[in-house]
Every structure is written in structure tokens, then in C-alpha cells.
């Protein structure tokens, strides 16, 4: 028995090492730093108590990060749900080439955020075909310098990336639905819209729930596209948590203050996801979907 315990721990040892060095120690260090005014370089620093946290809550960048995350979610989640649902609806059960389509739709997921940002920057540049076309109708938009459109552009890039991946999950959901249910409904003279809302959606709910939770999680971790395209601007309109923490820690070198922001971000993220998850579960239960 002793020996078996030993090999168990031996196999688990990579995790134990990793958990100590890259989780426990950083976690404690982060909390410690958040009470200091350390600037990442100087050997001397002082304790400030909760000053960093108070300062952070009052800071427009932090306040923006809080709201931008939810605004982003409000744009990204419905768009990605509708687009992935549309893809799944069209391709599920196709007798031929279904796999080929699924693979094709999955390709955007492989794009680096840097590359998709570059492409979008090109597509939206002043003399791009798209903007020249719009100018013919007198429409002139500086997409990345207008707060609302900048946010929507970033949301669209992320939705593009994840649509095929989520469609894969939803297609599997569709295919798990027993075909007999539809036949029975057809005999009962159910209309197509009733069929979607009363049969397909409830049976698809588990897959839809997964996609909702995944997409909400994604909303809290946006960095690359924002960093490349807007730097969090204009006027904090796209300032995500990661962007704010990166700027404070590695541009302003305020390691202590940035640690406090990171702690706030983690608590907000954790609590938000928990609450949204509970609400979704309650919603599903009330409709009798779970």
C-alpha cells in the first residue's frame, strides 16, 4: 500500500510542483504586493494598507474595465450564439460534406488575435474598399476611434473566431436529439416555429448552456485584439481588465497598484460568472429545460 501511495504521488508530482510554484506562491505574492507601493524596480517600497484598492475603485480605467466587460458581453454573446446556432442549424444532419463544413467553420478559431486584428485594421483602413464604398453614400466612420463602433469591432472579431467552435458543440447537441420526437410532432401538426421553440430549444439547452458559459468566460479575458487595435481607447471605451492591468504593471510599472487591480478583476470575474451561471440554471429550470 505504501508503495502504491508513493507512485500515485510520483505521477501527480508535476501538478504539485506547478501548483506551488505557479499558483500558491504567485497568489500569496500578489496579495502581499497589493498592499505596497512597489514600482517593479526600486529596492525600497512602503506599505499602503488598502490605499491601492481605494485608489483603484476610483480610477476611471478600472471603472471602465468593469463596465466594458459587460458591454462587451452584451454585444458578443448574442452575436456568437445566433451565428453559431445558424451554422449548426444549416449543417447538422447534412448527408454529405458535413465534416468538411465543420472543419471549414472551425478554421477561424486557429487565427492569432494579432493576425485577425491586422486583417480588420486593413479592412477598416481609410482607403479600404469597404470605406470607399460607404463614402459613396456619404457615410464616413472612423471605426476604431468611435467608442461604440470600436467595441463592436472587437466583439465581431471574437465572435468570428468562436462561431465555428461553438457550432461544433451545438451540432453535436442537435444530433443528440431523437428524430422520433420530430415525427411525433409532425403528426400532431406542430408549426415550424412551435417546433423550434417548444421542442428543439429545450432539447438543445444543455449544449446551449455550455456555449453560453464558455462565451461569457471569454468576455472576461479579452486582451490581444484590444491591445492591437485600440489600446483600450478611445477614452477607455474598450478598456478590458487585462488591458488595464497590463498598462499599470508593465507600462506604468506600478506593480503594487496593478496587483490590487488584478485582485479586484479576479473577484469581479469569479463572482460574475458564478451569478450568471446560477441565473442561467434558474432560467432553464423555470422553463422546465433542465
Amino acid at each position: 500500500m505504501m508503495k502504491r501511495n508513493g507512485t500515485g504521488w510520483l505521477f501527480a508530482s508535476p501538478y504539485l510542483l506547478y501548483a506551488v510554484i505557479f499558483f500558491a506562491i504567485p497568489l500569496i505574492w500578489s496579495m502581499y504586493l497589493s498592499f505596497t507601493d512597489w514600482n517593479l524596480i526600486s529596492p525600497v517600497y512602503y506599505f499602503k494598507g488598502f490605499d491601492n484598492f481605494i485608489e483603484a475603485v476610483k480610477h476611471p480605467g478600472v471603472q471602465a474595465a468593469f463596465f466594458v466587460t459587460f458591454k462587451f458581453m452584451a454585444a458578443f454573446v448574442p452575436v456568437v450564439i445566433v451565428s453559431s446556432l445558424a451554422v449548426a442549424l444549416v449543417i447538422h444532419g447534412l448527408p454529405k460534406f458535413k465534416g468538411l463544413f465543420l472543419i471549414g467553420f472551425f478554421l477561424p478559431y486557429l487565427a492569432s488575435g494579432v493576425v485577425s486584428s491586422l486583417i480588420v485594421k486593413g479592412l477598416l483602413s481609410h482607403n479600404s474598399a469597404f470605406n470607399v464604398f460607404l463614402r459613396k453614400f456619404g457615410i464616413e466612420v472612423d471605426w476604431l476611434s468611435t467608442p461604440l463602433s470600436a467595441l463592436l469591432v472587437v466583439a465581431a472579431i471574437i465572435a468570428w473566431k468562436f462561431t465555428g467552435y461553438y457550432a461544433l458543440i451545438l451540432t453535436a447537441g442537435f444530433e443528440g436529439i431523437n428524430k422520433d420526437v420530430y415525427e411525433a410532432a409532425a403528426i400532431d401538426g406542430v408549426t415550424p416555429s412551435q417546433r423550434f421553440w417548444k421542442i428543439t430549444l429545450p432539447l438543445l439547452y444543455p449544449a446551449l448552456f455550455t456555449v453560453l458559459i464558455l462565451s461569457i468566460g471569454v468576455s472576461f479575458g479579452i486582451f490581444t485584439e484590444v491591445y492591437q487595435l485600440t489600446g483600450g481607447g478611445p477614452n477607455y471605451a474598450t478598456n478590458t481588465w487585462q488591458m488595464e492591468i497590463f498598462k499599470q504593471a508593465f507600462t506604468n510599472l506600478s506593480a503594487g497598484y496593478a496587483s490590487a487591480v488584478a485582485i479586484i478583476a479576479s473577484v469581479v470575474t469569479f463572482a460574475s460568472i458564478l451569478v450568471i451561471r446560477k441565473l442561467l440554471e434558474m432560467w432553464g429550470k423555470r422553463n422546465g429545460w433542465v
Binding site: T7, A86, V87, V90, L94, L107, L110, L123, T224, Y227
Partner: protein, 275 residues
Amino acid sequence: MVGSKKGLTFRYLIAFALLIVMVFPYLYMVMNSFADWTQVDKKVVPTEFTMRSYEWLFSGGEAGIARPWLKAFFNSVIVSTASTALMMVTGAMVAFALAKMNFKGRDFINNAVLFQMFFPAIILLIPTFLIIQNAGLYDTYTAMILPKAMSLWAVFMYTNFFRAIPDTFIEAAKLDGASNFQILYKIVMPMSKSITTVVFLFLFMERWTELLWDMIVVRSDGMLTLNVLLSQMFGPYGGYPGPMYAASVLLTVPIIILFLFFSKQFKEGMQFTLK
């Protein structure tokens, strides 16, 4: 749902149209990397083509703003390969312990993995950077590989998969005198090819396109990954969109080829993960 033949044709047309819209950005990227420089970002479909963007890129660009693009590509290959390989080995090892071994503390480790997986990682960014810096690893490959030598998601995926493997296989091998390492390497892993493909593709893709971490732990020109170098060139190369698209192709095409190469196993593996 599958209706008449006419309805089916209609669905194929819609599916194809949607697919064109979705892969259009990639087509746009490839076309612009070959487009004549007067046409880059000016036309939806360029009409004149040149290799100039690629020549420019591989010669490093112009004096003053010359950068080591090819070196960056190899840095990406080294870092992503090493990191992914480690994540897969550690992931399978830990998962094997969690799924197939009985030992004191197993449930504790299992819960710790799940807890850490759902813990917002942003809180760890600054101190992890400081650990790397204090260990004297700043500006090294190790700095990019070591903190990404383990993936909790990989542990989670492998644990679920290994649990579905009947214990009889393992018991039989034990009676034959096989060690745990031999059982994992010779029996369990060959049975897990499809899930291994899924785990490998997701991990490699994620590592290949990482920006934030690789950007803060590395500074010197010769150490940058291709993704970071491309990111840094947004401003300075702003007037040279053609080479930027060529660099994007260089960054994107390998990962797509890898994915297409394994697409059959990927589909099989996804079936399991989506159940």
C-alpha cells in the same frame, strides 16, 4: 428536419455562402500578401500580384526597421513545440494518477485541479513574471516554456478519458509485471489517440498564438516569437501592409496545415469530448 431534395440543395447553398463569409478574412490575408503594393488594402480582390512582400520579409525589411522574421518563426516553433510536449506529458501523467491509481490525497488533488482551473488566472500574471525574473530566466526560452509546461485543461480532458478505459486492461498488464510508466506509455496512450489529437491541437494552437506572456518575459530581438514580432510591427510597419500580411500568412498557414493534417482524428476526438 431533413426536408425535400430542393430544401437540401438550398441548405448546401446557404452553408457554402456562410463558409465563404467565415473564411473570407483568411482569403483576404493571403491575397493581400501577394498583392501589388499599390493595391494592398485598397481592393476586395487584388488584380495584380507580386512576390515583393515575401522577398521584403525574408530579407528582413529595410535598413533601420529590419527585423529577424525567420528567427522569430523558429522561436515560435521551439517554444510552442517544447511547451506543448511538456503540457501533454505532464497532463497525461497527472491524469493517469487521478483516473487509475488509488492513493491517499487523490480526491484532494482532483479538487485542487478543478478549483485552479476555474480560478481567474489574471491575478497570477505579475508575480509569475517576478518569479521568472528572480530566477534569472528573463529573456530566455525557459521563461516562455516553464510557466506553460502544464495545462490543467489537459489534465481534466485526459482524466475524463482515462476513466472510461476499463480497469481490466491495466490489471492484466500489472500481472504481466509492467510498471506504471510502461502501462501509461504502452497501453493507455495508444488507446487515447483521438483525445490526444484534440488536446494537442488546442494546446499547440493556444501556445502558438499566445501574446501577453511572451511579450512581457522576452525583450531581445533574437528571442521574440513570430506572434510578438508581428504585434510589435503594427506601428513601425504601418506603411508596409504587404509584408505584414506575408508575416501573417507565415504565422497562420502552419497551424492550419497541422489542423487539416489531423482533422480526421480531431473529428473523432471531438465526438468524445462533446458527449
